[in-house]
Amino acid sequence: MPTNASTAAHALTDVTASHATLRRFLHGLPGVDAVGLEARAASLGTRSIKTTAKAYAIDLAISMVDLTTLEGADTPGKVRALGAKAVRPDPTDRTTPSTAAVCVYPDMVPAAKAAVAGSSVKVASVATAFPAGRAPLSVKLADVREAVAAGADEIDMVIDRGAFLAGDYLKVYDEITAVKEACGSEARLKVIFETGELSTYDNIRRASWLGMLAGADFIKTSTGKVAVNATPANTLLMLEAVRDFRAQTGVQVGVKPAGGIRTSKDAIKFLVLVNETAGEDWLDNHWFRFGASSLLNDLLMQRQKLATGRYSGPDYVTVD
């Protein structure tokens, strides 16, 4: 159970005192048995979510979507359309909840801001030389500051996977804290690990703790730009990390799987993972998000089917 939050947080502050202490701490975390982790994720995937539970889960999932467009071809018009969709995902049914946020490149933040003005929808911006993160720190920080100045409510940063894989954890830590500082009190920080590039579950667990120690508000699986993105197993692992981190420090951190979640069925499986791992405190878009673009339309179609009993098909949801 959570011990006294301030003392525990203090105990963990020592962890980041030096390269050696940080490394010792991260390498001292319990290992992850890959077979067991994947088996647990698969077994939770067999939960059968029907009727009222399904209706609840679909609405919850819609409210957790970070509706995303991260293309070189993005235009203000495209972002405007996306913003309108985020605010009112189903124009034929006003009871449909808004999504959590729209997620765009930094230069599109003003357009996004305008599009969602007056709604609960947040504007998230990727920054820090997304998706590769291969830029000098000064450039990354400028990227963040510009996005925040333009009104971004949330910043999705990428960690320096090269430094992480080279064992230079303190460098990664310092970068995250610097970005966190640049976010100030205005913007919440999501830290993207690009789990597909970290490749082992042990690394994902270490990265999760590293991110949380450095002050991440959210830990996020991936950019959506590499071959392996969010999976039930890596998300389960990160949910265990935020659960354990809160138990030790009293600080709650959110989780955002991103990339590759396309169907309602998949989204519901992730919500089951949340429910049965981190618990219901995370069943809220302040603490759990889906980074996705095509997922929303499938959720809307399933929502319509539950409401009407008919599957109307893709012509009855908007393409934005």
């Binding site: 290992g31 088996a39 647990r40």
Partner: protein, 478 residues
Amino acid sequence: MASAFEYAPAPESRAIVDIAPSYGLFIDGEFVEAADGKVFKTVSPSTEEVLSEVAQAGTEDVDRAVRAARKAFEKWSALPGTERAKYLFRIARIIQERSRELAVLETLDNGKPIKETRDGDLPLVAAHFFYYAGWADKLDHAGFGPSPKPLGVAGQVIPWNFPLLMLAWKIAPALATGNTVVLKPAETTPLSALFFADVCRQAGLPKGVVNILPGYGDTGAALVAHPDVNKVAFTGSTAVGKEIARTVAGSRKKLTLELGGKGANIVFDDAPIDQAVEGIVNGIFFNQGQVCCAGSRLLVQESIEEELLESLKRRLSTLRLGDPLDKNTDIGAINSEEQLSRITRLVEQGEAEGAERWSPACELPSSGYWFAPTLFTNVTQAHTVARDEIFGPVLSVLTFRTPDEAVAKANNTPYGLSAGVWTEKGSRILAVANKLRAGVVWSNTFNKFDPTSPFGGYKESGFGREGGRHGLEAYLDV
């Protein structure tokens, strides 16, 4: 688990299985009444609803069935292996085709969750038949010399915890090697064996090769004592196993026994904790702990006891107990009133002896036989709950300080069926596993079954191996 995300009931439909109001014995390819007309009822343990009335085999029926099996043996054993394999492959495929029906049936008659029968029992049953079908024409190369011969008629007595799977473990290797069988299912779970009889007919299996005799202990006793039985295979309690060993002593019957256990699940301080917790849960709460190889003793290194128990208790609070047909149920019903009272008695004894009892908040259904998942802490080797097989969802937690102590405690039992070792250190796995006196040692997993892997016990957990190439030996004259 009161949560905003309440899972709505998701029951598997019963409509897929058609249970007749009464069933006969299956002898010589026909369903027949018992010679003395006796019947007994089989109930669904989750509701106490009577499912069907089943003929109860007596001594005369045993004799009739053994004679049918003897008669069938001549032709069956003379068939080329490739021909016997065809029947076994056919049986395996029919089981796959009817797996949903059989899973629902098994859940109704046994009380275990549909999740387990659907994803565990049935796939393993089919896999077992497929596996031994593959051996039927390769016996020359099994390591028992050229053209090893079958034994004759096998008398097989199986338990109620995995009714169809135990049937598969017994019948598949027996038929593959050219024996014929008379099998007695447990009195609380006769239905899936009787449906299997129908599968045999559907597969066109020659009459008399498989005979099914539902009944109580006296039916089993008559079967194993029958003078024309060449091979006895039994899975069940150690007490009955000893009785059977006495019965067949001095006869020329070949005997294999798969008996009780008190498996130790050893968790070292460098274990993958989250997965170890899953393994502990799977080790003792799978099938409500009614598993002979259950990891019913948790041996945890003292330095992580508190942390591990905290995680374990949190995890137990998420277990969903209730309607076994609900697809989201993790813990089903105890198989019978008798078993429930045995569990209750042993747990009360544990409390009386001073062990600390804990269960998650958990509402038990008002009808049927139910027992909440239970942990005992402050347990020592001297406690009854650490020594006796409870055969229920009850875990005893003990601690150790060093690997040697873990091994000594794990082996300090008259049983020797299963054990588990949890550590991220490969060398420790090998070192500890080699010292454990248990037929199966799992590392960083538990209750993992595969037809290719031999299974069986040391000491009072029995002898002989089932599964794998080793499983052929019990049915061959070698």
